[in-house]
Amino acid sequence: MMLGYEKDGILDLKFLKLPSQKQLEKGVAIIECVQKIPCNPCVDSCPTGAISMKDINDLPLMDYDKCIACCKCVGICPGLAIFVVKCIDDKAFITLPYEFLPKPVVGKKVQALDRAGKIVGVGIVKKVVNKDKTFVVTIEVEKNLLMIVRNIKV
């Protein structure tokens, strides 16, 4: 059986273990890594031991209760597949990896893109950290875009 993302490269949320509302409010990392790739830097990067793996060929398992949304794994993941999401009132904050120039500027507006690269809204850049030449960018978007927006266009 071929899975949808193997055909078009777009991940359906049904393949992910989603956090509860409460976990979303404190902020958690969503690992969008669904194939058994021999890779484990995320496990080593996590300061609370929230990410676990049986062996290097296993899928990373995230314990949302242990995750403190520190965003360390976002800049480490070689597949750029980890996103930190957080809900505060009617706003959503998404931290995502970004590897293009120009560098996003804090306070500026950017286009918010979904998993197919479609513009679905506007984001405001809240924070930019350079992690080994990957920008780890936090944007603020409307709450309903929390699990939809996965990229930006400056």
Partner: protein, 458 residues
């Protein structure tokens, strides 16, 4: 013409908009940069009177004269003087300074044996220097580090052994063949290029590690020879090594990891990727690489292929076509794609010519992507003291190439009597097996199993 000191001749020409480098012998058709890694004949030019210079690996120097070759060829106008032949005696000759060759050299040197490392390129690193993405794997394989920085780390280690006189590094040099040597010695001839002058060097080595890499596969379609059709390695050479944009708009053929990664690199270089087409009904590369591309708005068309490329002297566009479930083109599904660049990422073939010449037992293993040298798990071939590592022992990827290199380096030292390496060899073999355990390691597992069986049957 103006260029930078560190350019290669072909990249400097590209930067000036000169894409036609040579003409085909029979029909006088334009030829351009294709493989960009010194393995094909598309960029042969006459430099300072010497014909057939591979301009993709020949350094640009002030005052050189670069000409297009005439059809029938002319004897070199350069004067060849009688030069004294140099001889080097060494414990381990390593051919190729990519990830496998660098690791083999470092491991062998660590065991205390002398190493001669030879590479055709202007710098070490092989294809690693073009890999701008962070690598997968575990800490042992430097996961999370970009390929180019892994290459820099390995270069530092090589430089230290060089300083200590343990490793002799010869760049811009080609091992051209193996000759009858004295007992228990392998004799090789090496051509060293310096300022477009060639020097012949005789190498007598007790053992040899062949880490010669691979060459890009070509795909059969009308127009595949037009300048503007590149292999994936070639565009990486232009963009990531020399900072030259190959074009403005690209059609990518192949959605394996190479096609996906290079498409992303095109976007990073500010080049538009129209789409990625893939003949298989599914994306062959990692989903995470596909996802990176998709969220930038690049569509991936599975069950699609390229029908033809059109253009007068360079690519002006291409026609793509949908395939049915038997991989046959569906009539009427053709679609024109306007682009000035077509990039082929349709697999690689192991470079094995030297191994053939030495007389190592070779066999065709489809999962290894071609003819490969039969070898055991210490990477030793059917000839004692001759080892293989990396893509030339079967196409895989850089992380496994590095471990294979380590195994080959330690094994060569073990054969020379360095007993300390035994434990290390076992550890590396275990590491390698672990990396291949997952679903994406299946092809390599099958390939190595087949090679093991053929080796036993010899």
């Amino acid at each position: 013409m103006i260029g930078f000191e560190s350019d290669c001749i072909a990249s400097a020409l590209h930067a000036q908009g000169i894409k036609i480098l040579t003409k085909s012998l029979k029909y006088d058709l334009p030829r351009g940069f294709f493989c960009g890694i010194g393995k094909c004949s598309s960029c042969l030019m006459r430099v300072n009177g010497i014909p057939n210079v591979r301009t993709c690996i020949a350094p640009l120097k002030q005052g050189i004269k670069v000409e297009m070759q005439d059809k029938f060829g002319r004897l070199p106008s350069a004067k060849f003087e009688e030069k004294p032949k140099e001889t080097i005696n060494v414990d381990v000759l390593v051919v190729g300074a990519g990830p496998a060759g660098l690791c083999a050299s470092i491991e062998a040197a660590k065991q205390g044996v002398s190493v001669l490392l030879v590479d055709e390129n202007m710098c070490v690193g092989g294809q690693l220097i073009k890999q701008t993405h962070k690598f997968f794997g575990s800490q042992n394989e430097k996961a999370g580090t970009r390929g180019i920085f892994i290459s820099e780390d390995l270069k530092k280690e090589i430089d230290e052994f060089k300083k200590a006189g343990k490793i002799n590094l010869m760049l811009n040099s080609t091992v051209i063949g193996c000759y009858e040597g004295e007992k228990n010695l392998h004799k090789f001839m090496v051509v060293k290029r310096k300022d477009y002058d060639n020097f012949l060097i005789e190498v007598n080595s007790k053992t040899a590690v062949f880490a010669c890499g691979a060459m890009e596969n070509m795909l059969l379609f009308p127009g595949n020879d037009l300048p503007g059709v590149y292999g994936a390695g070639a565009v990486q050479t232009l963009m990531n090594v020399f900072g030259v944009k190959p074009g403005k708009k690209v059609l990518m053929i192949g959605a394996g990891n190479v096609g996906l990664i290079v498409s992303y690199q095109f976007l990073q270089a500010g080049i538009d990727v129209d789409r990625v087409v893939e003949a298989a009904p599914f994306i062959g590369g990692y989903h995470v690489h596909a996802a990176k591309l998709r969220r930038c708005g690049v569509p991936i068309y599975t069950s699609h292929s390229i029908k033809e490329v059109y253009g007068k002297d360079c690519v002006e566009g291409a026609v793509v076509v949908k395939l049915d479930k038997n991989w046959q083109p569906i009539k009427g599904s053709e679609e024109k794609v306007e682009c000035d660049t077509v990039c082929l990422a349709v697999g690689l073939t192991p470079s094995t010519r030297l191994l053939y010449q030495i007389g190592v037992k070779m066999d065709f293993v489809s999962e290894a992507c071609g003819y490969v040298a039969m070898h055991d798990n210490s990477m030793q071939t059917t000839i004692k003291g001759v080892f293989v590592a990396g893509d030339s022992s079967g196409i895989e990827e850089a992380s496994t190439a590095m471990i294979e290199g380590k195994i080959a380096g330690v094994s060569a030292a073990l054969l020379l009597g360095c007993k300390d390496g035994k434990k290390l060899q076992k550890k590396y073999i275990e590491e390698l097996n672990m990396l291949r355990e997952g679903p994406f390691g299946e092809k390599a597992r099958v390939a190595k199993k087949k090679i093991e069986k053929l080796m036993e049957a010899k």
